[in-house]
Every structure is written in structure tokens, then in C-alpha cells.
């Protein structure tokens, strides 16, 4: 294991949170409000079960294959050919996720901050930062996530402040009247936002103390859930479910109602901080994809070149990102991709591992 990519459990926690909390958080309340009304926040708790299982499965898998990286694990459990194909699918999924997330981020920045700046310029600027961070390896990515996390904490203060100016507690009531169908529909929307947990599959082998991975992963999920809950509850309190569902980015619109003296336009300051925070959501899967491919093709010495290549691919892909009206369709596909790749692959690997038990080590050596 290269020390360049080695991270500690604290950094892992921040990388996992950074990989989950992104632009979608600002749009999620509208989707949940439409799906489940005042129970929007319950959908987040329900939806968090998917990444919870995902993280527990990956942690269990990693514990059973200590010392093996993701590529070795895939090939040992699924065989050389099938394993390689699955790794490539997984890597493409991560690159696709990065492209989608970057496209959505760029559209948001265009809408609120740089309406006349061409999309390619916004994407290029973002990708320059992403490529630079990823090229420095896992340790730098870890430290970056650690530092930028405090930007997320600050941005949460921003989101809470409008509640002081306008709120209605009845918007959250009644707590009863739960409808399972509505909650499940809402929970499906949260899957897109919680996607990102699967990069633990790549990162597990890079953590210096594997015994601390489980706690770090649970803490990371807790932080992500808390973040989503804060945004959803604040938006519900301020707008109510019915009005909230009409907005494209209620997480930003909520900032437009605060009357903070001197600052005046709260959302611009928030977005300035948010640019840094949300780039983690692009940096982390990019790093995971680069590390996966480096391990697969055994090209550690050409890591930077690979990162640059991936950066170009993502840059080109992000040019084709859909407009706001097409976002919903893309997000639905993204959720399905996460369930079928990010969630299912580790689960299948764990099942094979449980079934094959002792034969795995022999295969790995072979």
C-alpha cells in the first residue's frame, strides 16, 4: 500500500461524509415535500438504512479480507475475468457519478452566481481543483475533506438562521398519518443523495487502522443524516411541504428570506462557501475511481497521468449534463445505478465470501 494514499479513520469519516453531502442536499427537500409532505424528514431516516447496510456490508467484507485491496478482493472472490469486469463497471460508475455531480453543481453555480459564464468555464475551473487535489493522493484528499468539513458546519448555521425570521411549527404536524407508499417514494429520492458510501470499498485497504473503520463509517453516516435532516426540517418549517415542493433549490431559496443586516444577500455568501464544500463530492469519487484503476492496471507510477485523463473525461462528460428539467430523470438513473452497483456489488462479494470461506485465501494467493 502506497503511503501517498494512506489515511486515518478520522479522515475516512470526513471523506465518507464529503462523498455523500453535495448539491443534491439543496434540492432534496422539494422532492421529499412532494413525496411525503410533512413527513419529508422521516424519509431521510428511512433512506439512511440503505447506506447503513452498504457500509456494514463493506466493513464486514474488508474485515474478512484484511490486507487485500479492492481489486484483489474482487478477483479473489469472482475470478480474474469476472472480477476485472466488475471492477471496470464499478470504476465507470464512479466516473459517471462524478460527471453527473459536477454537471449539477455547475448548473447551480450558473443559476445563482455566474449566469452568463459558459458552462465549460465553470466545469473547467472546478475540474482544475479536482484534478489537483486528486493528483496529490489519498492523504491530501483526506486532509482536504477534514478541513472543508468545517465549511459544512458553517453552512448549516446559514441554513438555520432563516428559521429565526420565519417559521411555522404546524408545518411539521401531524407526526402521525404515516403512509408507507409515500415514505418509500421519498426514501428512494434520498438514495441519490446518500450514494457515496460505496467508496469505502476502495478506501478500506488504505486506512491505517482497519479496526476503527466501522466506527468512522457510522459516524460519517450520522453526520450526513444530521446534515440532511437539518436542511429538510428547516425548509419544512419555513416553507411548509406544499410550497417547498415548488422550488428547484429550496436549500438555497430559504437563504433569500433572512433579513441579516449588512450581509443582505445571504445566499451569495453561502454559495461561496458551498463551492468548496461541494467539490468534495466530486473529488472523493474521482479519487476512488483513480485509485481503483491504478490498482487494476498496476500503474502506480502513472497515477498523475491517469488522474489527468479521468479529469478530461469528466470535463467532457459534464458538458452534456441535462438542464434543471432533466435533473430528476438523471437522479432516478443515478439512484438505480447506486443500488445495482454501489450497493449490490459489495453485497454479492460478501455472500460469495461467506459461501467460499477458506477457498478465498488460496485464490487470492494464486
Amino acid at each position: 500500500m502506497s503511503r501517498m494514499h494512506q489515511i486515518n479513520s478520522r479522515q475516512l469519516m470526513f471523506i465518507l461524509t464529503g462523498g455523500q453531502v453535495g448539491t443534491a442536499m439543496l434540492a432534496l427537500p422539494a422532492l421529499l415535500g412532494k413525496a411525503a409532505g410533512q413527513h419529508a424528514w422521516v424519509c431521510i431516516l428511512l433512506g439512511a438504512l440503505v447506506p447503513l447496510i452498504n457500509l456494514l456490508v463493506i466493513e464486514n467484507l474488508g474485515k474478512r479480507h484484511l490486507g487485500s485491496n479492492m481489486v484483489q478482493m474482487f478477483q479473489a472472490l469472482m475470478g480474474k475475468v469476472a472480477g476485472t469486469i466488475c471492477i471496470l463497471v464499478f470504476a465507470f460508475y464512479l466516473i459517471g457519478a462524478t460527471t453527473v455531480l459536477l454537471g449539477v453543481f455547475a448548473r447551480l453555480i450558473q443559476l445563482f452566481l455566474l449566469p452568463k459564464t459558459p458552462l465549460w468555464v465553470v466545469v473547467l475551473l472546478a475540474m482544475m481543483c479536482v484534478i489537483y487535489a486528486v493528483s496529490k493522493g489519498g492523504r491530501v484528499v483526506g486532509r482536504l475533506n477534514e478541513t472543508l468539513f468545517f465549511g459544512l458546519v458553517l453552512s448549516m448555521f446559514f441554513i438555520v438562521i432563516p428559521v429565526y425570521y420565519s417559521h411555522d411549527l404546524t408545518n411539521l404536524l401531524p407526526l402521525g398519518e404515516l403512509d408507507v407508499g409515500e415514505l418509500l417514494r421519498g426514501a428512494f429520492y434520498t438514495i441519490t443523495t446518500f450514494a457515496g458510501a460505496e467508496i469505502l470499498l476502495v478506501l478500506y485497504s488504505q486506512v491505517d487502522k482497519p479496526e476503527e473503520v466501522k466506527v468512522a463509517a457510522m459516524n460519517a453516516l450520522g453526520l450526513s443524516v444530521a446534515t440532511y435532516l437539518i436542511v429538510a426540517i428547516c425548509c419544512l418549517l419555513v416553507f411548509g411541504a406544499e410550497r417547498m415542493a415548488r422550488f428547484t433549490w429550496p436549500g438555497v431559496t430559504i437563504l433569500k428570506i433572512a433579513h441579516v443586516p449588512v450581509i443582505e444577500r445571504f445566499e451569495f455568501y453561502f454559495l461561496a462557501i458551498w463551492v468548496g464544500i461541494v467539490l468534495r463530492r466530486v473529488i472523493n469519487p474521482s479519487f476512488a475511481a483513480a485509485l481503483t484503476l491504478v490498482q487494476l492496471f498496476n500503474m502506480e507510477e502513472r497515477y498523475n497521468l491517469l488522474v489527468l485523463f479521468l479529469g478530461v473525461v469528466v470535463f467532457v462528460g459534464a458538458q452534456f449534463s441535462p438542464n434543471t428539467m432533466g435533473n430528476q430523470i438523471i437522479w432516478n438513473y443515478f439512484a438505480i445505478s447506486y443500488l445495482s452497483i454501489g450497493f449490490t456489488f459489495p453485497l454479492v462479494l460478501l455472500l460469495i465470501s461467506l459461501l467460499r470461506k477458506g477457498t478465498v485465501k488460496a485464490n487470492a494467493k494464486a
Binding site: T117, T170, A258
Partner: protein
């Protein structure tokens, strides 16, 4: 020789900052900062600027009037007031591009006035573009004008920089000066959700500053329903539980010199269902201090209680009149109590909460409590 990385990084940052700024940069001296705007039903086109009128989509329906200060020191007038007739508010911005030499910063505007006739037709379709436009803050204050907003904006005032700043000061925090709400775009929007209905402060021409707050406009969703005078406004604000403060006069039977009390208000609502009838128990709480009591008899516990009872009875009578009018004439919940029923039975009530029968058949029990906590520096 080591690579000059800090220099490269710095160069990169400078290039990046400039690259992003090029497309969206605007010179400040080319910007026009509107302070107030009004929307009225289209009347005429004295400036003959409506040359695009060919076909139904170009047919003007709304007159948009905007006030913005002239930043040039050489300009004779302090402000420019311009009316643009247009088929929609958003399309009006296109026409303004031909008449205004500066770039118009819509997001800087502070006050939107709605003309009475336009409000009667419904305001949402005219305000929609403001909610959609990212540049616009949802903090813009809204008010209804008795008459046309255009006429108010075209007035001269000697007591403020211009009519726009005067209007902004007037509608910004009226709840700190009396029983009058400040209503923003955000509030007007969320008050159109099921179980809610908006109110707007009303502005009228007159008074020492040329304009004054004349009462409250009650809406059924986005359509003007009724106009209230200042006394009715106070009752509605108390019933609605809009946090504000102001003075109440009183006169006890054995005193011929009236006094006054300064109070803050609060509201509590409980709802229960008795068969098919929804029973709302509305409690209005007034807490205040005696600010004036010129009678010879000093204030004691007994007289204090009498003052409290006097004000409570007056307020209760006024509020009851509003409740009766609301249930029998307007048949619309303008005191914002339906939300408490929704908070208990949302799934069942949401489809019918805005039906006239719901609020008409509801039983509303009112109780007003007054608590005088201080008598000032005199006994």
C-alpha cells in the same frame, strides 16, 4: 533549481478569478438600482413605447412603474419614475431595455406595490417572475395601494430622499410602531398554502409625508377580498397573532380623563372536534404598561384590574365583529387558524380546508386577556 510552485499557484488563482468574472462583470456606474415598483392594471400608454403591440401575447395587461435614483450629480431630478405597459411582468424587462440606458438590477428593489384593481384580479401571476428570478430577494416588501400604485410612485415628497425610500421605511417594520404587519414576498407566498390566506398593509395618498398606512388588505389566496380600516386592522392583527405593539386608549366610568396603555400581543389557539364541528379556542394576550393616566385617583390593584377589563372588553368586541364578518361575509379564514386543524387532521382536511363551509361552520371561541405589568414612573 526548485520549481517556483507558489508563483504558479498564485498565477493560477489570478487566472481563474478573471476567467470566471469576465462574462458576468458589470460596471457599477452603468447600473440602475430600483427602490420601489408598482404593478397596476394597464390604463394607457402616454410615453408611446408600446410599439411591440401586435397580437395577443403583446397586448398590455399590466403597467409596471419603477422608481430608481439618478446617480449622476448633474441630474435635475432625484429619481427616475418610469411606467412600462406590458403583457407580463417578466416581458416588461425587455421593453425597459429600450427605454433605460442603464442595466436594471431587479434584485435590488425593496418594495412592490400592487394596485387595488390588479389585486382584485389576482396577484400571483404577476409576482411569479419574482419568485423564479434568482437575482430577486424574497425579502422584498409588498403592500397594496388604495387606487393605483403608479400614482403613488409619481408623487413628490419633501420629507425623504425620494418616494421609494419613504415607502421602504414605511412598510419595513410597521409592527414595531403599531398593529400593522410587514409582509414580504416570502410571506405572501407561504400564506397561499392550504389553510392560509395572505394579508397586505395598505397605502393611501395623504398625510404629512404624502402617503400613509391606511389599513390592511385581506386576500383569498392571491385575490383581494376586503379592505380594513385601522381599527379593524388592529383586531385582525391580534386575531392573527402577528407579533406587534401599540397603544390602547381607556376611560374608566368614574374618570372623565382617558388614558392609554402600551401593549404587545400574543395569540394561542387550540382546536378540537365535536362531531362535525371544529371548535377553535382563540386566546389573545396583551401585555403592557400604562403610559398615560391623567385622572386624579392614583392607580391601585383594583383600578389596574378595571383598566385591564376595559381594554379586554373593547378588544374582544372589536375582534368578535371581525370574526362574525369573516364567517358570514368573507367565508375565508383570514385569521390563520385553519392551520391548527391541519396540524391534527391534515390528510383528511387538506382537500376541503379552503372551502367556504369549513370556516363558516367552525365554532370560534374568543378570549382576550390583558396583563398590565407596570405603571411607568408615576403611581
Amino acid at each position: 533549481m526548485p520549481k517556483p510552485k507558489p508563483v504558479l499557484s498564485l498565477l493560477l488563482i489570478i487566472i481563474c478569478l478573471n476567467t470566471a468574472g469576465c462574462w458576468d462583470s458589470k460596471d457599477v456606474d452603468r447600473l440602475a438600482f430600483p427602490i420601489a415598483a408598482s404593478y397596476d392594471v394597464h390604463r394607457d400608454d402616454p410615453g408611446k413605447i408600446n410599439q411591440l403591440n401586435h397580437g395577443p401575447l403583446e397586448e398590455p395587461t399590466v403597467d409596471i412603474t419603477v422608481v430608481y435614483p439618478n446617480l449622476s450629480a448633474l441630474a435635475n431630478a432625484k429619481v427616475t419614475v418610469e411606467t412600462i405597459p406590458s403583457s407580463t411582468v417578466g416581458y416588461g424587462r425587455d421593453k425597459r431595455g429600450y427605454t433605460s440606458p442603464d442595466f436594471y438590477v431587479t434584485g435590488f428593489n425593496k418594495v412592490i406595490l400592487a394596485g387595488e384593481d390588479l389585486a382584485a384580479q389576482g396577484l400571483y401571476k404577476h409576482l411569479e417572475s419574482l419568485y423564479r428570478f434568482p437575482e430577486v430577494s424574497n425579502n422584498m416588501f409588498l403592500a397594496l395601494v388604495e387606487g393605483r400604485g403608479e400614482d403613488v410612485l409619481k408623487m413628490q415628497t419633501d420629507n425623504a430622499d425620494n418616494i421609494g425610500t419613504l415607502l421602504y421605511s414605511l412598510v419595513r417594520e410597521p409592527y414595531k410602531r403599531g398593529f400593522m404587519p410587514a409582509v414580504t414576498l416570502h410571506e405572501f407566498d407561504v400564506w397561499q398554502a392550504p389553510g392560509h390566506n395572505p394579508v397586505l398593509p395598505m397605502i393611501k395618498q395623504g398625510g404629512v409625508n404624502q402617503v400613509f398606512l391606511s389599513g390592511l388588505a385581506v386576500f383569498k389566496k392571491d385575490k383581494l377580498l376586503a379592505k380594513l380600516d385601522l381599527r379593524q386592522t388592529r383586531s385582525l392583527v391580534l386575531l392573527r397573532g402577528i407579533s406587534s405593539q401599540g397603544y390602547f386608549p381607556f376611560a374608566l366610568e368614574d374618570e372623565n380623563k382617558p388614558g392609554s396603555v402600551f401593549c404587545r400581543n400574543e395569540r394561542k389557539v387550540k382546536v378540537e372536534r365535536q362531531g362535525d364541528v371544529y371548535v377553535f379556542k382563540v386566546e389573545v394576550l396583551l401585555t403592557g404598561i400604562i403610559t398615560e393616566h391623567p385622572a386624579e385617583k392614583p392607580l391601585d390593584v383594583e383600578r389596574g384590574k378595571k383598566i385591564e377589563d376595559f381594554i379586554a372588553a373593547e378588544v374582544e368586541s372589536d375582534c368578535q365583529q371581525i370574526i362574525n364578518t369573516m364567517q358570514n361575509e368573507w367565508k375565508t379564514d383570514c385569521i390563520d387558524i385553519s392551520k391548527y386543524a391541519l396540524a391534527k387532521w391534515r390528510r383528511e382536511l387538506e382537500p376541503q380546508i379552503d372551502n367556504e363551509q369549513f370556516i363558516s361552520k367552525a365554532q370560534i371561541q374568543l378570549e382576550v386577556k390583558v396583563d398590565i405589568t407596570n405603571t411607568g414612573e408615576l403611581r
